[in-house]
């Protein structure tokens, strides 16, 4: 569930296909996100999952899997 919602948000913000948003994908290296894209994704996740993600925590979210784990731990 979390992964699916995450895939939709990332696909929307980055203009990629949901099929590219795999667990091992790195936001920057594989999905081509720059730091402004990452803010958009983070804000999307905050809204969707009702959590607040600090700037420090954003640094630790490099891959899709990192994001899934982060969100799961806070649901």
């Amino acid at each position: 569930m979390i992964l699916e919602k995450l895939q939709q948000i990332v696909a929307d913000k980055l203009g990629v296909d949901t099929s590219e948003v795999v667990l091992t994908a790195s936001f920057r290296d594989d999905l081509g996100a720059d730091s402004l894209d990452l803010f958009e994704i983070v804000m999307g996740l905050e809204e969707e999952f009702g959590i607040a993600i600090s700037n420090e925590d954003v640094e630790g979210i490099q891959t899709v899997e990192d994001a899934v784990n982060y969100i799961t731990a806070r649901q």
Partner: protein, 321 residues
């Protein structure tokens, strides 16, 4: 007469064009990076021009378009964060240059929201009945307050001026304003005043350049601007889909894209000229308004929205007359 309408718009930009490629010769950056991150390709930099001279030129164009005598203008407000002098204010210098002798003249400091704030102030003063014609100018020479070794800011901020002439009317065309602020975000975008010390108080000279936390400013803009626009429209009979043109402060193309998306409005309705002028703070909206003029039709609903240091932000809805 408690209505207001726009009767003239003008703009003035410096002669020198500074391209991304030229910046990349003295700062570690690249044309591609700047274009992708901001949408900017080139900007204008004042060499002989000053904030005042640009303000005067922009005002002249607005006055010429309105076909009125400058001396009938009773109110001059210049929104700027880079005035040539604290005293006299820019507005007095502009009035003097244009032969405006019977006006109330002052500068207004609200960073990139300056034009919106100054417009609200001018229109409010006019609606009370005291002023029939008001000149509102946004004018900046940010190139003189930017750290040219800071690639985070020197690629963004540039110079120019835009002017709008407002006139009292029985058929109101300026429908609504919504200006807001949040001082808790002050530290995200700063420009210190000049070195402050006296015989009894010594202070470390402040870095007299723009200092910006780009991340926080971006997050603020893409969150607050759509909220503000929706709140503004709630006070009017219209919703976002009714608006013909959105003219946002030209800070970063990515912000414009994000705001359009959050509002669910086609990006084509958002006028952009940031590629040519960069971020000219208070001047950006009136410059864009002037350049959008040939696309505007009588009766079009136009929404202007600014956001910037303070933090300040605001929007205005008017109908093209």
């Amino acid at each position: 007469m408690d209505g207001v309408k726009i009767i003239g718009v003008g703009k003035a930009v410096p002669k020198k064009t500074l391209t991304n490629e030229e910046i990349a010769t003295f700062v570690e950056t690249s044309n591609q990076w700047i274009k992708e991150r901001t949408g900017i390709e080139e900007r204008r930099i004042a060499i002989e021009e000053t904030t005042t001279s640009l303000a005067v030129s922009a005002a002249k164009e607005a006055i010429d378009e309105a076909k009125i005598e400058a001396e009938t203008i009773e109110l001059v407000i210049v929104a700027t964060a880079s005035p040539d002098s604290v005293m006299p204010n820019t507005a007095c210098l502009v009035a003097d240059a244009l032969g405006i002798k019977n006006a109330t003249c002052f500068d207004l400091s609200a960073a990139c929201s300056g034009f919106l704030y100054a417009s609200e102030v001018a229109c409010s003063m006019m609606r009370v009945g005291r002023y029939k014609r008001a000149l509102v100018i946004g004018a900046e020479t940010l190139s003189k307050v930017v750290d040219w070794e800071d690639r985070g800011t020197c690629i963004l901020f540039a110079d120019g001026a835009g002017a709008t002439l407002y006139e009292g009317t029985n058929e109101n065309k300026v429908l609504a304003f919504k200006t807001q602020s949040d001082g808790s975000g002050a530290k995200y975008l700063e420009l210190s005043a000049s070195y402050k010390a006296n015989r009894f108080h010594q202070e470390e000279p402040q870095h007299p350049f723009i200092v910006m936390n780009g991340q926080e400013v971006y997050k603020f803009a893409v969150t607050k601007v759509p909220q503000n626009i929706k709140a503004l429209l709630e006070e009017t009979p219209y919703d976002v889909q009714d608006i013909d043109w959105f003219i946002l402060h030209q800070a970063n193309e990515r912000i414009i894209t994000s705001v359009a998306k959050k509002l669910g409005v086609a990006e084509e309705k958002f006028f952009k000229n940031i590629q040519h002028y960069g971020n000219t703070s208070a001047a950006s909206i009136p410059i864009a308004l002037k350049e959008a003029q040939n696309k505007l039709k009588k009766g079009d609903k136009v929404l202007l929205a600014g956001f910037g240091a303070g933090l300040t932000w605001g929007s205005m809805l008017f109908i093209v007359s």
